[in-house]
């Protein structure tokens, strides 16, 4: 017997000790996104940020170009020249010879397995990179090694972020990370490099900046959390428009700025600006204080991050509406630098900028011969790409292309041929893809403009209908083996359906439910599309050159087509059926929770008459339940009051129904 107990204890402890080191066990609590059911969090998800995609793009001194290979190579060359003597080293099975110590350190950081927060190393997860990627003997340098592991573009950019910004974007370094895609890492870099120079590098030693495991979120977060300041990027971030992704990166960097500047987001002078007072876990604010975004109302930390982001990307309204807060950020964070105009934030002296603009315009005019450039276009579209002096060749090229694009939008494609020939661009040139993509953008722009202007034309109608069919197929949840899957459609639909159509759910008339569902989908969609975002369908990609009337016409057309499709589609019935089951479940949970209400909300229940008890306890519940549980615009659950009185004990004044009785009652009312 003793032996059995001893063996059991040894085995038990072995399992406990082995637990932390187990390779497959996640060391961060993560849960599948489908499991989130936080009604409040989902309903609170509004467009809260300080700038839209197009405003961010047009922000003065915005970094608009991605790093090209020449810039990266030039950076690494300079970095490798910083050390006087190179080293031979072996890192996780890979041997390097005569390599810069800085690059060896960076490679070590990128390939050393840590826990999810970078608190400590996790030896059980440590890879042997030589074994997995056969780096030697072909590679003896770090640049070559990162290319073997991640591919040339991604590898160099991951290395660049580590060296320049002190953030670690390697999925091998931190648990529950997935590899960043190229467009994602470009947005990370562009967002980070919108910071003022004196705050770069911002990362603490080897700080995480990775994409969290795709399809998962951190426990405690809602599915709408795009990122955190650890820094983890989530699926919601990936789905944001590109410039909004950069805004989100900047927002998270702003939290890190607060830390860098001595937890500036909680110093008395910052808290005083909005009257922030901490009471336990919650924060109260002065109701008359000035905020830049609705999101900033949450707590002083988000207030700070949103204020910095708005300062950087949309400063004019910020300065006008909250001058005190604006000046605090200006003086204490940005060292007086402002982003109100190209002149105020550019590192290029204004006289040189003006001179350069004139010569650039002349050069492009000469190349295109037949067109003349509007100086206003140069100032609005082109100079915004210049924030550093001397202006790089790459930025000059980008600027020329922007100007040419403006012309091409109004002229025939013959001009493109002129441009290609003048620029000596060959068919295999890296710039060709860029130009082609711009041509495509122009074509889309022209095509969509046609749709907006000619919305009654049969041809465009057919083209548009095909597009809508595709949008619905891509966006709404699919039926797989009888089950409905898909995060966005079903989660959004379920909660919105319950909130907006509860009366119809209780009425039990399928046609009314359907009409209500279509109405709120369209209402939601119109609201979200007006923020250049989307809730159920893909974002309507409206070219920036559209005027307001064209945008409205296109949106109207888009929504009328969606309405038609929804009326004809039978997938809505599957949605509704699933949502009604959710409503039943929530209603049953609510009634089952009566002890909570007795203890926390209605402590004087013993003094109530039976009628009062039913009325106050269950038919006039808290604001939360009025909003989320009982049928909208009603005084309670239809027919519930009389049922309650029947089922209540006159002695204890408590319900005496069984769970089965409750379930039967709910099932009989909602069907």
């Amino acid at each position: 017997m003793k032996k059995i107990i001893i063996v059991t204890i040894i085995f038990f402890n072995f399992k406990i000790l082995a637990h932390d080191d187990h390779e497959k066990l996640p060391c961060i609590q993560k849960i599948p996104l489908e499991d989130y059911k936080d009604v409040e969090a989902i309903n609170k998800h509004l467009e809260w940020h300080g700038a839209t995609n197009s405003i961010i793009q047009k922000a003065p001194c915005k970094n608009l170009s991605t790093l090209n290979p020449e810039e990266l190579n030039s950076y690494f060359f300079k970095k490798s020249q910083e050390s006087k003597s190179n080293l031979n080293a072996s890192v996780h099975g890979v041997n390097f010879s005569n390599e810069s110590p800085a690059l060896i350190d960076a490679f070590t950081s990128l390939t050393t397995a840590m826990d999810g927060f970078g608190f400590s190393k996790v030896p059980s997860r440590q890879k042997n990179f030589q074994k997995d990627f056969s780096i030697n003997p072909e590679c003896k340098k770090v640049l070559c090694a990162v290319t073997k592991i991640w591919g040339e573009d991604l590898g160099k950019k991951i290395l660049y972020i580590n060296l320049k910004h002190h953030f670690n974007a390697s999925e091998y370094a931190f648990e529950n990370s997935d590899r960043l895609k190229l467009d994602e890492i470009d947005d990370v870099i562009m967002g980070m490099e919108d910071l003022p120079k004196h705050l770069i590098p911002l990362g603490r030693s080897n700080q995480r900046l990775t994409h969290f495991s795709r399809g998962y979120g951190l426990k405690g977060d809602s599915p709408y959390v795009a990122a955190n300041s650890v820094v983890m990027l989530f699926d919601t971030w990936t789905k944001e428009p590109r410039f909004e992704r950069q805004y989100s990166v900047f927002h998270e960097m702003s939290h890190n700025v607060a830390t860098r500047l001595g937890d500036m987001d909680e110093v008395p002078s910052w808290l005083k600006l909005s009257g922030w007072v901490k009471k336990g876990d919650s924060w109260n604010k002065n109701p008359n204080a000035c905020f830049t975004t609705e999101y900033g109302l949450t707590n002083p930390f988000e207030d700070y991050a949103e204020s910095l982001s708005t300062y950087r990307y949309n400063p004019k309204p910020f300065k006008e509406s909250c001058p005190e807060k604006y000046n605090f950020i200006k003086d204490k964070v940005f060292k007086g630098k402002e982003y109100l105009s190209q002149e105020s934030c550019s590192d290029v002296p204004s006289d040189k900028l003006s001179k350069f603009a004139t010569s650039l315009a002349a050069g492009v005019e000469k190349e295109l011969a037949s067109v003349s450039l509007d100086k206003k276009i140069i100032s609005e579209k082109c100079l915004s790409t210049f924030s550093q002096y001397p202006i790089s060749e790459e930025n000059i090229k980008t600027c020329k292309l922007i100007l040419v694009k403006e012309q091409l939008a109004q002229n025939s494609s013959a001009n493109l041929k002129i441009l290609l020939s003048k620029e000596n661009i060959q068919s295999n040139s890296p710039q060709l893809a860029q130009i082609q993509s711009q041509i495509a953008e122009i074509m889309i722009s022209q095509g969509m403009l046609g749709i907006a202007d000619d919305s009654i034309s049969e041809t465009s109608k057919n083209v548009f209908n095909e597009n809508i069919n595709q949008l619905i197929n891509d966006s709404l949840p699919k039926k797989n083996d009888g089950k409905i899957s898909g995060l966005e459609g079903m989660t959004n639909f379920s909660y919105s359906f319950n909130e907006n159509c509860r009366q119809e759910i209780w009425d039990g008339i399928q046609a009314s439910r359907r009409k209500c569902a279509i109405d709120f989908i369209l209402k939601d969609e119109k609201k979200w599309q007006s923020f250049s975002s989307s809730r159920y369908f893909k974002k309507l990609n409206i070219p920036e050159s559209f005027d307001k009337a064209s945008i409205e016409a296109l949106r109207e057309r888009f929504h009328s087509e969606i309405e038609k499709q929804l009326i004809e589609s039978d997938i809505l019935d599957s949605f509704m059926s699933k949502s009604i089951e959710e409503t039943k479940k929530m209603t049953k949970q609510y009634f089952s929770n009566k002890e909570y209400f007795i203890e926390n909300e209605k402590s004087d229940w013993k003094k109530m008459t039976p009628q009062d008890f039913c009325q106050k306890m269950y038919n006039s519940p808290s604001d939360y339940y009025v909003k989320y549980i009982i049928p909208k615009n009603s005084n309670g659950y239809p027919g519930f009051l009389s049922w309650c009185e029947e089922k209540q004990s006159s002695k204890t004044k408590r319900f005496t129904f069984s769970e089965k009785e409750l379930n039967d009652w709910v099932d009989s009312k909602i069907n």
């Binding site: 003793k2 107990i5 001893i6 204890i9 040894i10 402890n13 406990i16 000790l17 637990h19 932390d20 066990l25 996640p26 060391c27 961060i28 609590q29 969090a41 609170k44 998800h45 509004l46 809260w48 940020h49 999810g116 927060f117 608190f119 400590s120 648990e175 603490r204 700080q207 951190l218 426990k219 405690g220 977060d221 809602s222 709408y224 959390v225 795009a226 990122a227 955190n228 300041s229 650890v230 989100s248 927002h251 998270e252 939290h255 890190n256 607060a258 830390t259 937890d263 008395p268 808290l271 007072v277 901490k278 009471k279 336990g280 876990d281 999101y295 949450t298 707590n299 930390f301 988000e302």
Partner: protein, 147 residues
Amino acid sequence: MKKLKAFFALSAFLFSINAFSKISWKEYVYSKLPEPIRFIKIKTDLKSVEKNIGKAQLVEKNKHYYELEGFKYSLEIIYQNKGVKEFSYTFMGNRPSIDTLELETAKLTSYLPTGKSGGRFLKFEDKDGEIIIDAVSKNIYSVRIRK
């Protein structure tokens, strides 16, 4: 029998270091609390608390709030039957590092997640209460003691 007892003792020891190496978070945090607050324990009566740290600047029902070091309110004490039921303290200035704690990262969850950003705080919670960690600077932001 002695061997069996020894194994039980070893078992308990190994179990405890699995949760927190060397020292529990509660012991560690208590050692970092300012001297007058360190005195507060669960069930300490209201009079003793007020004798040591004075009256609260704000009282809302059974919740007493103290402004310390110019920060409103770094201390919250919740009473039940005039004894401390739980209290929370927000560290200001020199915050304790988490390096010596060896927290189980599997138990960390997001704290104050709002809107699109998860912010910079993580929460660790067990039967004794919770600690809020600033994941960026890797120190303890606040603590709540419940037991």
